[in-house]
Symmetry: C2
Subunit: 218 residues, 2 copies
Amino acid sequence: MATEQARGSATRARLLDAAVTAFGNKGFHGTTTRDIAAAAGMSPAAVYVHHRTKEEILFQISAEGHRQILQVIHDSAAEDSGPTDRLAATVRAFVAFHAENHVKARVVNYELAALTEEHRNEVIKLRRSITQVFHEIVRAGLQTGDFSVSDMEISATAIMSLGVDITRWYSPDGPWTPEVLGEIYAESALRIVGVAAPSSALQAHRAGAAGQTAHAAR
Amino acid sequence: MATEQARGSATRARLLDAAVTAFGNKGFHGTTTRDIAAAAGMSPAAVYVHHRTKEEILFQISAEGHRQILQVIHDSAAEDSGPTDRLAATVRAFVAFHAENHVKARVVNYELAALTEEHRNEVIKLRRSITQVFHEIVRAGLQTGDFSVSDMEISATAIMSLGVDITRWYSPDGPWTPEVLGEIYAESALRIVGVAAPSSALQAHRAGAAGQTAHAAR
DNA sequence: GTCTATATTGCGATAGAC
DNA sequence: GTCTATCGCAATATAGAC
């Protein structure tokens, strides 16, 4: 059972931060425990005072990251708002989080295969809760007639993909803040479910205004 | 200079296929050269008869995969068709390819960091060509007035994300064929750029019809 | 071109002093 | 709880016979 308390040792936090950065940039298998220790300013052995194995570090990051995402989208919209507002608010929060925390979110989204089966199953439960939030919003919008899509599940998946894929290409050096990205993607999500964006939310055509700022790996 | 001919040795092809599968499922750093050799039914040493290093195998896969994607989207639409048709055709082809070849495309999209700087730069050039295709279609649609978006680059990125992210979650055991996915995502792409889908392309509401088939890691 | 055997290095994890 | 030192093994890559 994973009933680990988030024991608040400063060293522990430094190690986890170092691991997030390393895993995010070089991948779990591309990162050595020595990398993590060095980035945290410690000896290789220090890692094992706080964590049993390298995989266990990944699990902590992954589980906690998923919980954080779940929290963010739960808190994003009032319970009593309609499907359109809920979808916009949820996407705004989901997208902004993925951009703001793109390194951590990269680990969260792309390193599931490196977990032990037991740990992976635990994380998958959290992922399913996240997926359900999007499914239920789209389902609600279809029931009220606010949304119109040919496949509920694919549409929800497409909307989530917008957020998830940000972690692959996003750079804070690029032209977009997490908030701007959240806003525009919220608009895109509404369009995907067949809601015409209110003209107030639709800013003037600024196509090409951002210019060619392409991040290398995009 | 990478002027390597695609020398058509059967053994070579078997090794590359084995590497695609292994890299796709366990990641580059999670795969050993012994894994590759074993999957190809050969001894560990046999790998080095055909490839200088493990990274060089990844480079071959990555470069060739990118070229294939570029080809697919180039061939997808007639030169003289309008932006709406071109966008739909390109997304259809792009998405179907990523679903059909989801393991290879996963390597293509997620293993750039494992390449040497030189190889990565070469691959990034190919990626830019792919990005440009989408940019130019959206730009064209804005110029003709067929499309309406608040940010050209973000919209093109969002559309590409639909295809790229498929490689993370797609399973052939799921309810969707690559073609169905391509069709629905083409519709979503049109909506993202503000084109209302023609009613002929919009199938009857079948929300919930697919049921709960969620793939584990989605 | 394929094999067996191996050189060599790097990595996860531990031992034991302070 | 941190360190230095190190164990044991796995990984990339090579040597050399057939």
